[in-house]
Amino acid sequence: MQNSIALKQKLRLKQKDKIISLLIKLVLVCIAIVTIYPFVWMFFTSFKLESDVVKFPPTILPSKFVLKAYVDIWKKIPFISYYKNSIIFASGVTIISLLFDSMSGYSFARLKFKGKNILFVAVLCTLMIPFHVTMIPLFVEITRMGLLNSYAGLIIPRASNAFGIFMMRQFFITLPKDLEEAARIDGCNEFKIYRSIMLPLCKPALISLGIFHFMYNWNDLLYPMLLTTTNEMRPIPAGLALFMGAHVIEYALLMAGACLALAPIIIAYVFAQRYFIRGIAMTGLKG
């Protein structure tokens, strides 16, 4: 008797647990819907006619799927320039920064030289400096150098990144010491050790960091907006933000632009999610 009551109580408790976990799942799914909804809405709106966008009541699906916005966007705004600029700016920074970051990271991790510690602290200090404190002199500098509104002006100030150096250093430091000792005995010089032994080993770290650099610069607004003065030189975010501020808004057109702007990042995310997450998780681990 006693036993069966206890058993019943246990069962009831289990049932309560089940209901709670079901409720939690429901909440989680609701959050997921709220997270994904704006993307779905953007996607479908980009296939609408302008008249379809403003009609009442609004619907999420277009009454007729049309590609008008995707045709118009190249004609009504210099979207092809925006896209080209974004690609050149983001990949330019990524390639150069990967080279410089990995060189510095390698040097700080594995080579012995005078003043290493102080220089490394100086690099870490740049992580603490907000962009808004340096942006006014940076703008004046780039203007004086005659680089305003040029790809060089956009890429050079971002040619190295303290976070990238830190991340590469943390990676290189974990590699076993015998690697380069053996290479040195075999007569490899320092450049060859870096190029032929160390660099191939850090491919995963380089991919994560490369994705991070590309994404960061592809998405950035304030920095490229300051350093470009004509519509033809602006990357996508700056171009679209200023277009939105200056014109009677064409919603379908802007949503097509948004789709095209997000596409490379989201496609890369679908295929290489772990590299995105690893890069971000690593930023957290440095704390």
């Binding site: 989680l28 959050i31 997921a32 997270t35 704006p38 809405w41 609004p58 410089f100 060189m103 510095s104 390698y106 080579l111 012995k112 030289f113 005078k114 220089l119 100086a122 740049t126 603490m128 400096i129 907000p130 962009f131 808004h132 340096t134 006014i136 940076l138 703008f139 004046v140 500098e141 203007t143 100030p157 190295s160 303290a162 010089n189 320092e190 450049f191 060859k192 998405n219 607004l221 300051l226 996508i236 975010p237 700056a238 679209l240 933000a241 501020g245 919603y251 949503m255 948004a258 702007a261 997000l262 990042i265 989201i266 999610q273 995105f276 971000i280 998780a281 957290g284 440095k286 704390g287």
Partner: protein, 300 residues
Amino acid sequence: MQLTSKGIRKFVNDQRRVGVFFVLPSLTVFSIFVFLPLVVTVIFSFFSIDLMGGNFKFTGLDNYAKLIGDSRFWNSLGNTFYYTFVSVPLQIILALLVTLAIERKTVFNAMLKSVYFLPAICSMTIISIIWTFILDNDIGILNYYLRQIGINAVAWLKEPAWAMPTVILVGVWKTFGFNMVIFLAGLQGIPIVYYEAAQIDGAGNIKQFFKITLPMLMPTLGFVAITSVINSFQVFDQVFVMTRGGPLFKTETTVQYVYSRAFEAYELGYASSIAEALFLIILICSIVMLKSLRKSEESF
């Protein structure tokens, strides 16, 4: 010829020289584009300068005196604090709850994780453009839904009292997945034996959370809190796109104000003093938070 190639050979085999050579490109970039501007901002803040950096006039502390009497500056600072100290706790609490809920490795949880993280990789500018339309009072779909269920909707981004909370919610929507990923990585670092031991001692879920998870997660939590505060103090993109600081300056943040003083009103000197003031505040806040984090870690 013989000599130079010997010189090169000596160089490439010398760790000390190669070491310096390898850090040289990065340090040159930082010196010219970070450290020099950092110093120059301080100098600029004592001058009156017009846009292209011409027409310097030393004005001493005039800019700072002007700053103290500038109600638009104080308003922007208030808005920045409002944004930071509402959005950071929301971001962290939501991220923490979600992390705990999807911690177990199942296919369902992995899918949720991918979805929650999606906004974090997207451009804040593009996200803000999308939300501006969804939140629009006339054609926006959100207010249409709300009216359908009988809620009298407001013009989210145009109502002075609602604009900032709306901007904050969009920020939280975008950022919580980012924090979640960091928390998940932090949770993985907690040895499972602690939980096993707690279970043997009969500690329940809630007790386990407060006695193991939370203290062990403290360094990660502190790191996320500090970086979130620093980032939120610099909030710009979503405000620039969604409200341009309006309505009635209710969402104008300090970086937005620096931008508008420097690049719309062309007062580089005065804008530099505003930038310096915000930098100082960020610095003080980070130091205070770091100190209290150290203290709380010691007390555990």
